[in-house]
């Protein structure tokens, strides 16, 4: 866990890609879930944030 937080502070690719992946997965689940329309409404902004973050952080050092 410490490595993960240190990696975030030192702008390392691994932990940041993990955060971006979680955001994308969360956004997609929110987009297609049958529970609450509010989650559906905010799904796109979360997926978009995750996707843009993924593109940016994939250029960070290992």
């Amino acid at each position: 866990m410490n490595d993960f937080i240190n990696g975030l502070f030192r702008l390392r690719r691994g932990p940041w890609e993990m955060v971006a992946s979680v955001l994308i997965a969360l956004g997609v689940i929110m987009l297609m879930q049958p529970v609450a329309i509010t989650l559906y409404t905010y799904s796109f902004i979360i997926t978009l944030t995750g996707t843009v973050m993924f593109i940016v952080v994939s250029h960070f050092p290992e």
């Binding site: 992946s21 997965a25 997609v28 559906y40």
Partner: protein
């Protein structure tokens, strides 16, 4: 003349003449070869993408070319993301996507596992199994429409034979609960062979020596399956899931032919809904925003999936 050093002659030669003598540099030749591809890529992929993003912020309607196009900001996105009909369409797509992938991977892997064994008529069975994949989706759609007919359909007859129910008592494509399963069954029938072929390639790439070593270590067949077969086929399986996932996310022809999105909108997938918005209602700006939402979703999912695939390959 012979006493003049070659460097001096080279320096004295005017640039234009020297360039003519040397011809094109390797870099220039590379650019000449690559330029048409880059131009096509920009014209066919990048430009339409940027154009779509721009349209998604407008109220453009391509059936009214003389009407002024107004900038509406995020209004199209707001409408789509608060529309309960589109929300249900997303759920129908998720249902279709998850079940087709699960069934195709399970059945495809089992078939590949069987076909990989040496037996008489192996090639003939492979050809028969692969046959549905070669058909056009329009043909498959028509074919399954007849199979699902309540009175004369073979599918209903088989279900009635095994369950004892009356074959005319249910309609696969007319029933709200059964229609989503009707399109899943037809797509699974058509595309399981594709998954099977990819799995077969994976199974045939495993060297026999690994199984022989496992036999020497007295590993059971079950253990060999879980510790050799599955890990070595996993990258192929993941590739098959990626291909089928992307394809099924934009599934259109087969479903339109089978159910037309009905009954009601139970089998209206996102691609069908998008086509209706764009080319039946002619709401170009709105449908562009819809397309951008789908694009970002597929792109994001594919990005994390490819990353996971690379990790599995590295193991």
């Amino acid at each position: 003349m012979n006493n003049i050093p070659i460097e001096k002659i080279a320096k004295a030669t005017p640039d234009s003449v020297a360039r003519h003598i040397r011809g094109l540099s390797d870099r220039s030749i590379a650019w000449i070869f690559v330029a048409p591809t880059i131009f096509l890529l920009l014209a066919i992929n990048i430009f339409p993408l940027i154009w779509t993003v721009w349209l998604s912020f407008t109220n453009s309607r391509v059936n009214r070319p003389n009407r002024a196009v107004e900038w509406v900001g995020l209004r199209n996105y707001e409408r789509i993301l608060t529309d309960s009909d589109i929300w249900h369409t997303m759920q129908a797509t998720a249902h279709f996507l998850i079940w087709t992938i699960v069934l195709q991977v399970l059945i495809g892997f089992m078939l590949a596992f069987l076909i990989n064994k040496k037996f008489r008529g192996n090639d003939l069975w492979t050809t028969i199994i692969v046959f549905p994949m070669m058909l056009s989706p329009a043909v498959v759609g028509n074919f399954w429409t007849f199979l699902y007919q309540p009175q004369i359909g073979l599918f209903n007859y088989v279900i009635a034979f095994f369950s004892g129910a009356d074959s005319a008592s249910f309609s696969m494509i007319g029933d709200v609960d059964l229609a989503p399963w009707a399109i899943i069954i037809a797509d699974t029938w058509m595309w399981t062979p594709f998954v099977m072929l990819i799995c077969l390639a994976g199974l045939r790439s495993i060297p026999n020596s690994i199984y022989e070593a496992a036999e020497c270590d007295r590993a059971s067949k079950w253990r060999q399956f879980w510790t050799i077969t599955i890990p070595m086929v996993l990258p192929f399986l993941m590739l098959a899931v990626l291909f089928r996932g992307i394809e099924n996310f934009k599934m259109f022809d087969l479903v339109v032919q089978l159910t037309g999105g009905g009954p009601g909108n139970t089998t209206t997938l996102t691609s069908i809904d998008l086509k209706r918005e764009a080319f039946e209602k002619w709401r170009t700006g709105y449908s562009s925003a819809y397309a951008v939402i789908l694009f970002v979703t597929v792109f994001g999912l594919a990005s994390i999936y490819v990353k996971a695939l690379n990790k599995v390959k590295e193991r």
